[in-house]
């Protein structure tokens, strides 16, 4: 809609609100004019906004993610956002596969009562039996299969696209793209720049949005991390922990960490006597990378490296509480910026539980860990070993950094996230209502 038409539409809504809409004037004629000039969606948008401005109904927000049926950090971000905005909007969660509110509650411990779930199946992926709807499979040789969602976006006041999928064209009055990382360069069916606002989850993501998409995102909101336990603090054990998915491509770099620990075990056994390295993560069945890792540790006489796959949340939480050191090397080898941690939720989870993080010096991890203050950032496995030995040798330093890590992690808590979300969307809603 151009600015002149936009002004006319606003004037129309203002007149309706103030009661100065001329008696006898035909509203339908004006709506029809907008429809013929700007398209039917523009006319519908005027009426949607008029309803909210006139107080005929509560504003609506639809949040979409093509991966809502899978457990993930990005999906937790979107659903926590929905949970935080229930007082502001009538919320609909749009998914592409069957899913229920109870599933979200079980996975993320979120209260989403009052939200509706709408499942919009996409024939393109259903016909192929795909369980994951990968936008990379869509070329411009076929009709954009995500337009079924684009159409739906135009039936709400605010549309939030929480997925790493820029193929949904936003039609609503206000649209927000939550960018967890810009994975692809602009090519066919690219609409990221058509959204009213782009929210980014870290400065690293913002930097790559600028480099790859050539525009600056609008709002920075870190993801919510809420693994802090107010219960009694457990005494720390001689435990190094790693928590990351066992990606079949090995992008979380568990192999590099196992090799580093093995080297320590081989060359300087005394220093790690009594220490254990546990790697926790989710995995799909038949994961060759996981088999490879199991092969690496199979013949260890001391059994001081352990892999724990798909363990319950309570067990994971206990491990966080017991761990003294947390390793995370995602990004130490990479040929694409998406292979570096965009943020690093598990690192914050570890910090919330007073484990000292030693992480790769890159990506979003730089924003979480301040080197030497609340953990260490490393560029090589050699540095990883150096700082690990320093912590092992000096328990008082480990304790001090653990406390600092815990303090720093408050910045990324769910409470802070919800505050930021409410402030941002509150401002949007105020402007929407006040014209």
């Amino acid at each position: 809609m151009n600015s002149q038409d936009n002004d006319r539409s606003l004037k129309l809504i203002q007149d309706l609100k103030s009661g100065s809409w001329p008696a006898g004037s035909d509203l339908s004629l004006e709506i029809e004019r907008i429809s013929s000039q700007e398209g039917l969606q523009a006319a519908l948008n005027v009426l949607l906004r008029a309803e909210v401005v006139l107080g005929l109904r509560r504003p609506t927000l639809a949040i979409y993610d093509h991966a809502f049926h899978l457990i993930g950090g990005a999906q937790k971000y979107g659903l926590t956002l929905a949970s935080a905005l229930r007082d502001f909007f009538d919320i609909t969660i749009i998914a592409n596969k069957n899913i229920r509110l109870e599933d979200f509650g079980r996975w993320y411990g979120l209260d989403l009562a009052g939200c509706a779930v709408k499942v919009i199946k996409i024939p393109f992926f259903e016909d192929r039996g795909a369980s994951f709807l990968d936008p990379a499979f869509v070329s411009t040789k076929v009709e954009n299969p995500f337009h079924i969602v684009s159409r739906e976006s135009g039936n709400t006041d605010v549309f939030v696209n929480n997925s790493m999928n820029e193929m949904v064209f936003p039609l609503s009055n206000i649209s927000v793209l939550v960018c967890h990382f810009p994975e692809r360069l602009p090519k066919g069916y690219f609409y990221a720049d058509r959204y009213t606002y782009v929210v980014h989850n870290s400065r690293y993501t913002a930097e790559w949005i600028e480099r790859m998409w050539k525009f600056s995102p609008h709002q920075h909101i870190y993801p919510p991390v809420d693994l802090e336990d107010s219960a009694t603090v457990l005494p720390k054990k001689k435990l190094i922990l790693s928590v990351a998915r066992f990606e079949p491509e090995g992008t979380k770099r568990q192999r590099e960490m196992v090799e580093a620990f093995l080297k320590l075990d081989r060359l300087h056994q005394e220093i790690i006597r009594g220490w254990k390295f546990i790697l926790v993560g989710g995995s799909e069945p038949n994961n060759r990378y996981l088999d490879e890792l199991n092969g690496l540790i199979a013949d260890l006489p001391r059994r001081n490296i352990e892999l724990k796959v798909n363990i319950p949340a309570a067990e994971l939480h206990n491990l966080y509480r017991e761990a003294s050191i947390f390793w995370h090397l995602c990004g130490i080898v990479h040929d694409h910026p998406s292979e570096v941690e965009h943020f690093g939720m598990t690192t914050v989870e570890a910090m919330q539980n007073r484990a000292v993080p030693i992480v790769y010096d890159g990506g979003g991890l730089r924003e979480i860990v301040e080197h030497g203050v609340d953990g260490f950032r490393v560029r090589t496995k050699g540095e990883l070993l150096q700082y690990s030995m320093e912590l092992i040798r000096h328990p008082e330093l480990t304790e001090k950094l653990g406390i600092a890590a815990h303090q720093k992690a408050q910045e990324f808590s769910r409470v802070r996230f919800e505050e930021r979300i409410r402030t941002f969307f509150g401002r949007i809603l105020r402007d929407y209502r006040q014209l």
């Binding site: 519908l44 005929l56 337009h147 159409r151 360069l185 090519k187 069916y189 320590l264 300087h268 030995m389």
Partner: protein, 170 residues
């Protein structure tokens, strides 16, 4: 609030939603084209995207390597003078061809040399990259061993000093 206005807004919205269902094409819904062409900028490519880009570009250069002058078909609309005009035109073009072919041949030779050089440079960059990767790995392993061994030596030295200290006090 005027109730008739409320009702009118609701009625019109319902009507538009119904009509929206009947419009299949998103472009018609917004009365404009929504898709654009994007050309990837080489400087924006990440390391992962470089190899496919190099392969694609080399193939494209190879396809367009040889420049050939397209023979132009000559016709005339003149009924009487057409044939002599065409005769002079052909003679002139054959004469000009001697020079253009000479220039094009030179350009073709230059293209071939440049292409061969490009291929060799790509090959060298691949070798260098592989060697660099191998060296990085070896260097990394040395660094790891060195770090651990230095720590071990320090621990041993500390233990030795401790033992010497306790021997002295005895």
């Amino acid at each position: 609030m005027d109730e008739t206005i409320d009702q009118e807004v609701r009625r019109l919205k319902k009507d538009l939603l119904r009509r929206k269902e009947e419009i299949g094409d998103l472009r018609k819904l917004v009365n404009k084209e929504i898709d654009r062409e994007f050309e990837p900028e080489a400087f924006d490519l990440t390391e992962r995207e470089l190899e496919p880009f190099i392969e694609k570009s080399l193939a494209a250069v190879k396809d367009n390597l040889v420049l050939k002058a397209e023979p132009q078909s000559l016709t005339s609309h003149r009924r009487i003078f057409g044939r002599p005009v065409l005769y002079f035109k052909r003679t002139f073009m054959n004469w000009v061809d001697l020079y253009t072919k000479m220039i094009l041949d030179k350009q073709n030779r230059y293209n071939r040399h440049s292409f061969e050089l490009l291929k060799v440079l790509v090959l060298r960059s691949r070798w260098s990259r592989d060697k660099l990767k191998e060296l990085e790995e070896r260097l990394g392993k040395c660094e790891e061993s060195l770090v651990v061994l230095i720590n071990k030596a320090q621990d041993l030295q500390a233990r030795l000093e401790q033992e010497e200290g306790s021997a002295d006090t005895k």
